[in-house]
Symmetry: D3
């Protein structure tokens, strides 16, 4: 049985993430959407929200579950019995950026990383862009799964409303 | 009539920006140098300075004007009647970095993004490098339009002068 | 008035080419689909077929016409009064491959090259792939405009049929 | 059960190919090393040699077998019940070159392509380089599996021996 | 006599840095490992530690010495009589990222930058990854020269221990 | 003493090649412009012409000489006592394309490859583009050293004229 881990900060989960997870679930026996608690970048959403939104998003995908990565990613992989990290990829610069991490993780524990090209329908979606768009008042409801918009907006525009940036 | 928007933080405007704007003005009916009020990266120069320096720099280029982007870039494009975003480009990694934004903007509003290769004479110029050089006491007067050096230096080395780093 | 030239061998014209031409026609006053008579690569289809298929494909797009490039591309641009070459682009490696030609053409005559990202719906389409698929018996009718399949098949599988692949 | 296909011309099979196949065999239930009969590039070795060398090379790897792709790759995948194409990857430009094919194959039949970074110990090995080195008299015995050198040399330097290029 | 400068923040020095410095010392008469006092990114280790660790690491490599870059890199090169900057490189995106700096430095003072591909045995090592791994409790002793681990750990996990990140 | 080899087919030598050779001659004690007798690609100019034009081009550059590579490049490096291969580089895709060769040559004999970014003034020049332009009647006299145009034209347009492509 092959378990694949899809790591990320999921800040928040997007339709791009779901594309990778859903397709991964057809290739591997189990997929773990692994929410990283990255200590250097400050996420917009608290961990609990990121996990809850991800759980709601994958609830209907058989063979997928959500977990939190408490420390080192390769330790997490060992703990959940994962043989492989699965990452979506947009382009060559993405790959060049990911490669040192993939080589490092393989060096540390032998865990493999495989890359899956993003589906053409979601290749424009990245969490950072989604947040930028939402921050400036753009519509993101067709970029994220149901439920995310509300949480994101509550965080970005907390008050009786405007903010006009 | 085709209006092109050249977005950026222009922190500060450089000869690299002017190259793109000037050549764009020959391809499109109007070019709007659009100063972004990016809410996540903290610019070195205040918005008023960035706008004033850009305005001085393009004053002699027919068909070019400066404006501030108050919110979402695609909303700004709609407001100024722009059909296209115009971006200078140095290399393939630049392109890979810009592509998701271009696809996102097209998804949001249909606005196109076209890329113009940087002129060979300015391909080494980027605002971040200009600031790095100036911060450490290097000469940048052949990298930026007239007037920028003074504003930049006043900001980087505010005191009765030297600083010798 | 800005005239844009879309050069290529169009061997054969694909929906990818049409995407660029159609969008270019909204940005520029006139678009010339320019069929190159490249002297080093041997095309599959004769020039007359490539031109006829391209003409049929753009017949319904206002502001677009087809022409043959008899010699140097920059001479052709001058002859048709074009200020700009327009090229579709998929990714960073594409850009790195195109850039020397863009710089060379600008060096030779001052003509600019602007790059337009391929639409997500056609980013998988390239003439060479279309020919590969068709050569091995795959369906390409949703990759090329109407009429191309017949000409392509007649060329690739000329006989009463089989062909020992 | 997930079957993965590793397509290539294997002209000849190298230690780089074996790295991908061997690691793929740990991730998927079965791996098919699929020797393409590419109709446009002329291989150095005849199909029978390429197949025989590949078969010898994978004989000791459980879950791996060799097959010939008679026509379209996606048809072959369907015939062997494969859900996924597996490709080794060196760098971002490789990825950018492979992506259109991956998208095309997914478009044609839904088959996925996943990419596995080449192991650092074989990242310098490519069939074309191996042939170049061998052609000029360099040693390639640590680049290919046992048995390949003899076949390659017999092909490149057929005569009573020298050739000294 | 050709002096080469290897600039970096060395936060901390890694086996990847040593690979470049060691190989550079065979190509040039003298190599200066130049510790930058970068004013925008906040290093993890104080300058004194970064210098001391680098000095210990290169103590046994003939022709290599350590120095601090007090201001502009090109001024430093002039002061130490260096003709060339030497940088290790992993991939194309790395190169695209480094190129503007190389061109800028050449523009400022004429100093050249040459790039040396990272050895395959260290291509997965970068200071930032080393810090990430160490921060989360992973082993990094085979990624850095002797002595670095202790200093790094003392900084990352200062207390009587726990911290559980 | 460090000897650097600049390999290429020099078909024909261009100002881009001379830029690399000239700058390399300031970094290394001797530079050998090494004309490859590549057995797979068919050059336009015969070896004798390629060598003669290169020799004329470097005649005035101290420390540079021309030689022919009779076989394997690493054997040639050993024979001329070269420690390093020197290659000009335009962009990241170039680098990704060159890297496997650099790693292979280092694997075969330990010879290093260092990369020098092309000067901005010649970044548009490549032998293949020069031939394309010349073939179609464009001017290339500012792309190649004196004497090359005549030889190139005699080869491309041998007759009392016609050909007019």
């Amino acid at each position: 049985m092959t378990v694949a881990v899809c790591p990320g900060s999921y800040d928040p989960v997007t339709l791009g993430h779901l594309d990778v997870v859903r397709r991964g679930a057809r290739l591997f026996d189990e997929v773990v959407l692994a929410v990283a608690t990255n200590s250097t970048k400050q996420p917009l959403l608290p961990l609990a929200d990121r996990v809850a939104l991800a759980e709601a998003a994958v609830a209907d995908i058989p063979g997928v579950r959500v977990a939190v990565v408490p420390g080192l990613l390769v330790d997490f992989c060992r703990d959940v019995g994962a043989d492989v990290l699965l990452k979506g990829l947009r382009n060559g610069a993405d790959y060049d950026g990911e490669l040192p991490m993939a080589l490092m993780n393989r060096h540390l524990s032998g865990v493999e990383t495989v890359f899956l090209p993003a589906d053409r329908s979601v290749v424009h979606i990245a969490s950072s862009l989604v947040k930028d768009v939402a921050r400036h008042g753009g519509r993101v409801d067709d970029l994220v799964p149901p439920g995310v918009v509300e949480v994101l907006m509550a965080r970005l525009h907390p008050q009786p409303t405007e903010e006009a940036r």
